[in-house]
Each structure stands twice: as structure tokens, then as C-alpha cells.
Symmetry: C2
Subunit: 191 residues, 2 copies
Amino acid sequence: MFVYNIFIHIFGKKKEIMSSPRERILERASILFHHQGYNSTGINQIISEANVAKASFYQHFKTKDDLCVTFLNRRHESWFNALSEFTSTSENTQEKIVAAFDFIMHMNEKENFRGCSFLNIMSEISKEQENILSVIQSHKNDLRVFFSQLIEDELLATHIYLLFESSIIESQLFGSNEIVHKSKAIVKSII
Amino acid sequence: MFVYNIFIHIFGKKKEIMSSPRERILERASILFHHQGYNSTGINQIISEANVAKASFYQHFKTKDDLCVTFLNRRHESWFNALSEFTSTSENTQEKIVAAFDFIMHMNEKENFRGCSFLNIMSEISKEQENILSVIQSHKNDLRVFFSQLIEDELLATHIYLLFESSIIESQLFGSNEIVHKSKAIVKSII
DNA sequence: TTATATACAAACAAGTCTGTCTGTTTTTTT
DNA sequence: AAAAAAACAGACAGACTTGTTTGTATATAA
């Protein structure tokens, strides 16, 4: 477009002012998959809101499932980074574990109690979508490792992990952090 | 049909040998919703497998969501009955709690690790489907009450409830009862 | 500046979905 | 046996789905 080209000419390269189609697709898909669910979000909505042509979409992603895998991999990274950052200020292990539960509440407020993208998508897919399932399993394995690295006692680490998981789900179901507070109190009593 | 009518003539009333269309719909929907998910199961598949005409379907159920609510209400009843029966032979409270975790494993084996219908559907629906959501919330409330009635300590009851919930989800995700065994060991150590 | 790669719009295919409607047949009740 | 209720098959509407294709325009690199 005319104005757009002038804009580039004055302010520099395109990359600086507008992300690539692939990036725009992933940004919109992340929001839509997380807020509407995977099956309820169509390709057409994604590309229309990302201002990308359909042919361009299929140049970057073989299938919708392919996009889903890429989305989950990125979510995995950004989610763990956020968790690490959130718990990084804690001075000891106990505090770090408790901070992880504060992170759930923080995430719930920020994302309107949409819960865990990974578990939500698990409930939507079929056994045939193995590539998606394995990304979800890897994510949860890594979360278990996160707690295992903090806690020597293997069974206690599993214990915390299980409470962490149900805290996410129950707060999603009731749209409230109340149960996370209770869960936090429980965790404090066992570590 | 010819043979069918003879059958009725010889053996008695229809009700005794063939369930009503409404019943056949609910039976098929129960299986399909639980095994394929709600959004992935269409009305057409349900009525075709239930041998019911589409017009008959819409005589019994206003919408697909209406069927979903009825399905969940029935699942609620049958699931709780099964849990009650499974835990009824336990002689004391501790045993009963542990038996509840055995019930998860029993259910997983029987239903091929499809997890909790209620939580699965929660992940699939939108905020607008309030009537469905409230059935799910009621179900989980009743489950919490189930544990509260067994355990005086309110926080401990919540604790067990949270472990119960994550046990279902994690065993679904990994298609294995391994984590339920661990959860059972944890529960034994805290009651 | 020319060549190559990328992105575009928009039509199209082939199928899915929920829900409505018509007209016929079967079952139940009076 | 006649009247009313329920179930049937199946066409239809209208909107959606994922993915393909054609031809054009734009951006980047040689």
C-alpha cells in the first residue's frame, strides 16, 4: 500500500514495524487457541485476524495440526520462562515452591482463568493426533522435572506436582483463585 | 419390520426388547461423547448409530447442548453410583478413601483412559454454554462433598479431592495407572 | 535492473456441521 | 376400528470446515 510504503521509507525496514506473516499467524493462533479452544478456532478466523492470505498460511504450515504443534512448543517455552522468572526472586526452595502456586494465580488473572493450554487441547484431540499428544506429554514431564529438581524426596515432588495440576484445573472450572489459596496452604504444610 | 413385528408378537411388548429412541440416543451419545469428545461427535453420527431419525432426535432434545446436559446428568448419577458401590465394601474411612483411588484405576481400565467426561467437556465449551458449565460445577461440588463427608478436617478433605482430580487427569494424559498408584501411596501417608 | 522468492486475493473443492421440514408409516390410546 | 401420538426416511437450508489452486503484486537479492 501507498501509505505503508512511505512509512517504511521514512522509518526503516519492514521487519521493524510489521512482523512476518508466520509470526502474525502464531500470535493470533496463540490467543485464539487459548481462549476459544483448538477445535472451535478455524483457519479462516486465524488468517483473517492475522491479515494473512490463506495460501501464505499453507506455505508456512502443512496442516492445522502442524500449527498446533508449533503453537504448543512456543507456549511451552514462554510459559516456562514466565514460571522461572516468577520464582527466581525466591531465596530458598520452600519459597520457590510456594511462588509456583502464586504463579498460577498470576496466570489466571492475566489470562482470565483459561487454564492450561496443554490439558485443554488434550481433551480435544483424538488418539490419532500423536504428534500433538507427545508435545503435551513432554511439557508435563518437564514440569515434573521442575519440581523434582527442587525437592529431593521423589514422592514429595510428585505430591506437589499433583497439587499444582489440580490447582490449575479447579481454578479454571470455577473461575476463581480460591482453591489455589487452599492448595498453597496445603503445600506449605507438607514441605 | 416384518421379523421385528413377529418378535414382538411372540415375546411381548416392544419396551422389553428394544429401548426407546430417546434411550438409544442417550446410550450412543454417552459412548461417543466420552470416547471422541463433544465437539468431535456430530448429531448425524449419533442418530445413525442409534437408528433414530433426525426428526425424532429433535423431538426429544431441543439442541445438541440440551442432549449434552442430559448426558452429563445421567453420567453424574451412574458415576456416583459406581463410586459408591465400589467403596461400599470398605470397613473404615481410611479404606474407603483409598478405595476411591482404586476406583479411578478400575474406571481407567474399563473406559480406556478417557478421563473425566466433565473436565473434558469443560475444556471444549465456551463461556456462553452456561447450562453445561453449571452441571459440571455441580458434579465436582458433589465430589468434594463426598470427601468432606468422610473427612472431618476440611483442609484434608480438599487435599484428597485435589489429589483425586489430578490422578484422573494425569493417568488420562499418559494412558497409565502408574501415577494413580503413587497418588494412592501419598494419600495413605496423609490420612 | 533483472531474477527469485514471498505474499497477496479470491475462487474452488469436498466435506462437515446443526437444525428444519415434508410426508409416510407405525404404534399406542380411546 | 378409529383417532391421536410417535417414529420413520430423507431432502433441504445455510453456514461452517480444511486444504488447493490460479493468477497477480510486492519485496528482496544478484
